[in-house]
């Protein structure tokens, strides 16, 4: 779970709270079961955009679930893609 907390002891959210909540989400993605350092979370206006390539659909779903928890009440846009596992259709000729 997130150990940072999203509010000051006074109960009021810190100024610039959304940036810190996104930072906490990134910490949680890296430290948790996913060890996900490749997904990017960025503040875009009042929303948060998730981008990057993840190893599996399970990872993508977990990231969305965690984002929903950490960023409750914030609109989250997801543009995460799952890594392509097909063989290449050509080779590069190195001269």
């Amino acid at each position: 779970m997130n150990s940072h907390g999203e509010q000051h002891a006074s109960g009021t959210p810190p100024a610039g709270g959304l940036e810190y909540r996104v930072a906490h989400l990134r910490d949680r993605l890296a430290a948790g079961d996913l060890a996900e350092l490749g997904a990017r979370a960025e503040v875009r206006g009042q929303a948060v955009l998730l981008t990057g390539t993840v190893p599996s659909a399970h990872c993508r779903d977990e990231i969305l679930r965690l984002a929903g928890e950490e960023l409750a009440g914030v609109e989250v846009h997801c543009d995460l893609v799952v890594a392509e596992a097909s063989s290449p259709d050509h080779a590069e000729e190195l001269t």
Binding site: G38, R40, T53, S56, A85, S86, S87, P88, E92, L94
Partner: protein
Amino acid sequence: MIRVAAVGDIHLGPESQGTLRPAFETLPECADLLLLAGDLTRHGTPEEARVVAREIEGLAVPVVAVLGNHDHHDERPKEVTAILQDAGARVLEGESTVVTCGGARVGVAGTKGFGGGFVGRSAGEFGEPIMKEFVRYSRRCADALRMSLEELAEQGCDVRIALTHFSPVADTLAGEPLEIYPFLGTYLLAEAIDTAGADFAVHGHAHAGSEHGMTAGGVKVRNVAQPVIGRAFHIYHLPVRERAAAARTTAG
């Protein structure tokens, strides 16, 4: 011509089993060897390493690997290495290996490498002990890479490849935030490659980077992180006879 297949950053976990195996089984048709550029697991646990092992064991092409930072997270890199070796992979850390492909001797020198940044924007061996150790560790990786490449030259390899997880150049980081470049690679690796000489360099780690780059000394570098190449692996054709002929022409 040597056909090199390469991929890094496959980040396999328990639910990933079988994801890459179908593509890997096509390797004998299109490649002479497979290079794995680190971050093969998510946390570097033996359980995850066994997932990787099952994806590669019994492949009809030699597999040469380095570990990545994720493969160190559980602090059991020796166990991860042993599991991959049991599956037939040659796992390099400051070492080299020679693969024979159709009569040509292909040498691969490998290290995980580390960060530190690039010329003019790099960390220095100065200040707090932890900062000095950061840079010294990176330097040790690079020194081991240089010596491994030099060993391969002494062994008369027809082609020499540098395999790392961290990037030797900034070119292949294009797309990543500039602020994190020092965590993605170090020029020390490129300096090692250019000092010892190599025909090709392959790395991973930079998921949002780009594929193509080159060292200051003119060695082609490819970032084969799976999110970058968008495939199970990429294939690179390295000329052998042509290069030998060119060397003779130059010498003559």
